[in-house]
């Protein structure tokens, strides 16, 4: 357990008097780790905790050996927010160049990020004129800048066509193979099989943890959606 990218102990976040995360314990290592669960189950809150923009009620988060959100981590963690966080009135390249300058990265880093999300043809278009999927990829490219050691991606493949989704998952695996810990959330259960390790989440708690095959085998289910239902049903019984 020494080389985990993320170690979380007793993480609790209370918002509006309601616990969004309740005493969560979790360690995330290398590879592509998927966080699956319905909308509103706490995925985004957990991700915001990892990048240090979420107020935490109690608990301890260690990311890459440092306290989550501490200054040295801001160069090492790439974060993709659920809504595309780019400037609508700038081109893709201008957006990336700006964020690269904030990070102190060069032009080559911008080009690599544009290529990684396959936006070369749209690089000089203003983001406002792009489709939803293209905007989302532009936003993802910002997270990829500077080859971070940990990528925290909040629903990066939402609304993308299947071909592109497949390309992005291949990219996540390439990055993981190169040593980046990739933590991806999704509410689409059919993406589960693309993860090395799967975390199922519901109502602020983790209800299953394992490889997709393990989770299916444990519940005797053919797909992750059925497995999810079986686990939730088992809890209720």
């Amino acid at each position: 357990m020494m080389n985990n990218a993320v170690e979380i102990a007793g993480l609790t976040v209370v918002r509006g008097g309601r616990p969004v995360l309740d005493g969560l314990d979790l360690a995330i290592g290398g590879g592509v780790t998927g966080l699956l669960g319905p909308s509103g189950c706490g995925k985004t809150t957990l991700m915001r905790c990892l990048v240090g923009v979420q107020q935490i009620t109690s608990g301890r988060l260690v990311v890459l050996g440092q306290d989550a959100g501490s200054a040295p981590l801001r160069d090492r963690v790439g974060y993709h927010t659920q809504a595309a966080s780019v400037y609508d009135d700038l081109t893709v390249r201008e957006n990336l160049t700006f964020f690269a300058r904030v990070r102190g990265l060069d032009r080559a880093a911008v080009d690599r990020a544009v290529t990684a999300v396959d936006l070369e043809r749209h690089a000089d278009q203003v983001v406002r004129n792009l489709s939803g999927g293209e905007r989302s990829r532009a936003s993802l490219a910002v997270a990829l800048l500077g080859d971070p050691d940990l990528l925290v991606l909040d629903e990066p493949t939402v609304g993308l066509d299947p071909v592109l989704r497949q390309q992005l998952w291949q990219l996540f695996h390439r990055l993981a193979d190169a040593g980046t810990a990739v933590f991806v959330s999704s509410h689409v259960m059919d993406e589960a099989d693309r993860c090395d390790r799967l975390l199922l989440m519901r109502d602020g708690a983790l209800i299953a943890d394992g490889s997709p095959d393990e989770i299916r085998a444990r519940t005797g289910s053919r797909d992750i959606e059925t497995a999810f239902l079986a686990i939730v049903g088992g809890d209720a019984a």
């Binding site: 918002r15 990048v51 923009v53 979420q54 809504a83 966080s85 780019v86 609508d88 904030v102």
Partner: protein, 245 residues
């Protein structure tokens, strides 16, 4: 503070403005057009009305236009998620604020140069003191408007709410700045209030420069404006939280 990041923010804000032609036009020529309208209104009226109220309005127009544009622009940054993203990066809060202040300060300088140039050159506004100092006051005043706009944007959830700050924050300052009633003739309580409102000092500085060739008073007023600007930026920094609920 990191100059690289501050400059990156300023350059980015300016390139966004470059794309937004309507806002750019509003920033650069609207105060001048309004001053021209004012001059025209009083062209046939007896007495030198334009000379007496022109300086006050030369302080007021840039102040409130910069306030409006800045508060809405920064609010958009807060609500679009780009601010959250920046705060998860190695960006200091002051880098962000000074970047904005620098970009809008440059715009303010251009805006004020045009407005003062037209008023003095074409509309025959009589200025006894040095014209360049009048311009400096106009720029300081516009930067103050930006700084206040940055600050209040923290208290708005939507652009609709941000616009509502204009009547709440700006109009009382316009009423009490000495434009309608000289400040020393206001009821005591209102005079005391006008003493703590920043726009009063901008208008005082303008009036003293137009009326007299000594610059001491204008420099003192400029000092007060600078203090208000720094305070607004400092409070603005305090409202930028890396961690939010």
């Amino acid at each position: 503070m990191n100059p690289r990041v501050t400059l990156a923010v300023a350059a980015r804000v300016l390139s966004q403005l470059r794309r937004d032609h309507r806002t750019l036009a509003m920033l650069l020529v609207l105060p001048t057009l309004l001053m021209t309208l004012l001059w025209w209104m009083f062209e046939e009226a007896p007495g030198a009305v334009f000379d007496s109220i022109g300086p006050s309005l030369l302080a007021i127009f840039p102040f409130f236009i910069m306030f409006l544009v800045t508060s809405v622009t920064t609010l958009r940054e807060r609500s679009s998620g780009t601010l959250e993203r920046l705060l998860a990066m190695p960006m200091g809060k002051l880098d962000f604020l000074f970047g904005y202040a620098l970009a809008f300060g440059l715009m303010a300088a251009a805006q004020s140069a045009i407005a003062v140039g037209v008023c003095v050159g074409l509309l025959d506004l009589d200025v006894t003191g040095p014209v360049w100092l009048l311009m400096v006051v106009a720029v300081a005043d516009a930067v103050l408007g930006s700084a206040l706009g940055l600050f209040v944007s923290a208290f708005a959830q939507t652009e609709f709410q941000a616009v509502q700050f204009m009547p709440a924050v700006i109009v009382p300052q316009i009423l009490l700045c000495g434009l309608f009633v000289p400040r020393e003739r206001l009821p005591d309580v209102l005079e005391a209030i006008s003493d703590v409102l920043p726009l009063s000092y901008a208008v005082d500085a303008m009036q003293s420069l137009v009326g007299s060739s000594s610059t001491g008073e204008a420099w003192a007023d400029l000092g007060v404006i600078a203090i208000f600007t720094v305070a607004a930026l400092a409070f603005g920094a305090a409202t930028l939280r890396r961690r939010t609920a």
